[in-house]
């Protein structure tokens, strides 16, 4: 019940947020040279005035700006994202077809980065200002400065080209024609490097947050109590400190959701994964503004959903959090 109220409250906050996003995007579209019809006509290679007039009234592009905006809002709210200029098929279908890969990639890399960040962060905090901490901090800095696509390329050189352990790109080996479990395993193998690449930057962020949070928690009174009552250091660290230090980690995970989706665009391109990000890149190359608009809206919705899930996790972790808070 508490969770349900939290979800409802969150959703009521997300709707105005989505409204602002749509308004800003509409404003941006007004600035674009030419509209969807110009793009369609250009694609068809004709310049027929009556046809463009017909298309404009069909898409509702001949009314006033206000009428256009309400029409645009109405279409987006009903998830009618229009046709892709480049593909000639509905944008929504294209997006839904590509979405699973991106979601799997995001969830895997987030889980990997989160877990690794926790473990390494705890180690750094445990040995604060001693050599393990220094090494971890330096490595974290280096990783943070690395462009993800560059790391991805270097990983391909090492693991795919030189060692031949992992496939260099794609989502599955089409020639092998795997089915069922074998296909799942093959896909997992194809996802190892992309997930590592995307997760790496976020690992550096989580690691730093975890270290700070652990150090913060370790100064609190209940930690001294735990030690005073004779608990072993391991129990103090994992049972008492870790659980409390996880809260800021979960918050950061929520904040990172949108930049992770942005990072997925680049990583999917490096590893030729057929995901949302790759679709976005193709849309840019083909100047398919309608598709880009759809992708932007859908990825914002995805970010809102991820944040909602994270809020629920947060509420589960910390029972003090209530609807009003």
């Amino acid at each position: 019940m508490r969770i349900l109220r939290l979800v409802l409250r969150r959703l009521s906050l997300s709707i105005p947020c989505l409204g602002i996003i749509l308004a800003v995007l509409f404003f941006l579209l007004q600035l674009a040279p030419g509209d969807a019809v110009d793009a369609l006509i250009g694609q068809m290679g004709t310049s027929d005035d009556t046809l463009s007039k017909l298309l404009r009234s069909y898409y509702g592009l001949d009314g006033s700006v206000v009428a256009q905006f309400t029409g645009y809002l109405g279409r987006l709210v009903t998830l009618d994202l229009g046709l892709s200029v480049a593909y000639g098929t509905p944008v929504l279908a294209l997006i839904l077809e590509r979405l699973p890969v991106t979601v799997v990639l995001m969830v895997t890399s987030m889980a990997m980065a989160f877990t690794a960040g926790c473990v390494v962060g705890v180690i750094a905090a445990r040995y604060v200002h001693r050599w393990p901490d220094t090494i971890i901090s330096v490595l974290g800095m280096l990783v943070y400065s690395m462009p993800s696509f560059w790391f991805g390329l270097m990983a391909i050189v090492l693991f795919a080209v030189t060692l031949g352990w992992l496939p260099a790109g794609g989502i599955s080996d089409l020639r092998a024609g795997h089915t069922g479990l074998a296909l799942m395993l093959d896909m997992a193998k194809h996802l190892v490097m992309p997930a590592l690449t995307l997760g790496l930057i976020f690992f550096a962020v989580y690691l730093r947050v975890m270290r700070t949070a652990m150090l913060e928690v370790m100064t609190l009174d209940f930690m001294r109590t735990a030690r005073a009552k004779g608990l072993q250091e391991r129990a103090v660290l994992f049972r008492h400190a870790l659980r409390n230090a996880l809260l800021p980690m979960v918050t950061i995970a929520g904040l990172q959701a949108s930049s992770m989706l942005g990072g997925a665009v680049v990583v999917e391109s490096v590893f030729s994964l057929p995901g949302l990000g790759r679709l976005a890149q193709e849309a840019v190359v083909q100047r398919d503004l309608n598709m880009l608009l759809g992708i932007t809206v859908m990825s914002s919705v995805l970010v809102i959903v991820v944040n909602l899930v994270i809020d629920i996790i947060y509420a589960k972790l910390d029972p003090r959090i209530d609807v009003g808070a």
């Binding site: 560059w150 390329l153 990825s299």
Partner: protein, 276 residues
């Protein structure tokens, strides 16, 4: 002078400063070390590094000098970094200051706007802006700045929220000072230190974003930039991985230098928070 000595007492900050000066040196000296167009042909395609005199880092898949492209690329990265950061911090301070100072409905409206911008993945928004406004390098710097202002805005707002009820602000109000003067001349100087520290984060991200756009082939193709070179090297990755590797190292050094300097400045401005 004392501040300088304190800055220099941290070896990480010092290393960062040296690296940053090195990158700036590369950008400055690019013109007379490599006076020719860095995108002109300089030798046989795919000459490996350290094998030919005059081509210290070899050539790319077309035969263009990699060293020249890296030196000239430093200009692009620094230009994009500085311009984008200036814009992002400018917008961020304006939004955050107005929001935190006035509070109430203004604050609520501006914070909803900030949240909206934080929800849209900024890289995808960037792609859209590139399609609409084009991918000239100055345009790129502007649009990268235009999607990076949210964190500085939140930071400035938080500072203003704590400062606006202080006595010195109250007395300014009693004196009848105009709002703009209170915001920018009275409160802003005290609110600035944490925002200044954040400059390094924004700049590092801006440089990374430009390189990512260029890598995807969505940046200005007519300039020598690190991302462009990596994108080119990707096509010959199997046979000549060094073409992609070398400019990547330049990006890492630059971003690392900026982060280290930022941390050094942070320890300097917020001595209580440092040394943790």
């Amino acid at each position: 002078m004392r501040a300088l000595r304190r800055y220099a007492s941290s070896s990480a900050a010092l290393i960062g400063l040296v690296l940053l000066l090195m990158v700036i040196g590369m950008a400055v000296s690019a013109g007379w070390l490599f006076p020719d167009d860095p995108l002109s042909l300089a030798g046989a395609p795919l000459t490996p590094p350290f094998t030919e005199e005059g081509l210290p880092l070899g050539t790319d898949s077309v035969g263009r000098d990699i060293a020249a492209q890296i030196f000239h690329g430093a200009r692009v990265s620094l230009l994009v970094g500085v311009v984008a950061t200036g814009i992002a911090i400018g917008i961020g301070i304006l939004v955050g200051a107005v929001s935190g100072y006035f509070g109430g409905a203004t604050d609520a409206a501006l914070m909803r706007l900030t949240e909206a911008f934080q929800t849209v993945p900024s890289f995808i928004l960037l792609l859209m802006l590139v399609v609409i406004f084009g991918s000239e390098v100055t345009t790129l710097a502007l649009v990268i700045g235009a999607v990076s202002w949210t964190a500085p805005a939140r930071l400035t707002r938080a500072e203003f929220l704590t400062l606006r009820s202080r006595d010195f602000v109250q007395s300014c109000r009693t004196l009848g000072m105009p709002h703009a003067r209170i915001i920018f001349l009275e409160i802003l100087p005290s609110a600035l230190p944490p925002v200044i520290v954040y400059v390094s984060v924004v700049m590092a991200l801006a440089i990374l974003q430009e390189s990512a756009l260029a890598f995807l082939g969505l940046s200005d193709p007519n300039i020598a930039s690190w991302g462009n070179l990596i994108g080119d090297g990707r096509r010959v990755l199997r046979s000549a991985w060094y073409v992609a590797a070398l400019p990547g190292l330049a990006i890492i050094v630059t971003v690392l230098a900026i982060s280290l300097v930022g941390q050094g400045v942070n320890d300097l401005l917020n001595p209580r928070l440092g040394r943790r």
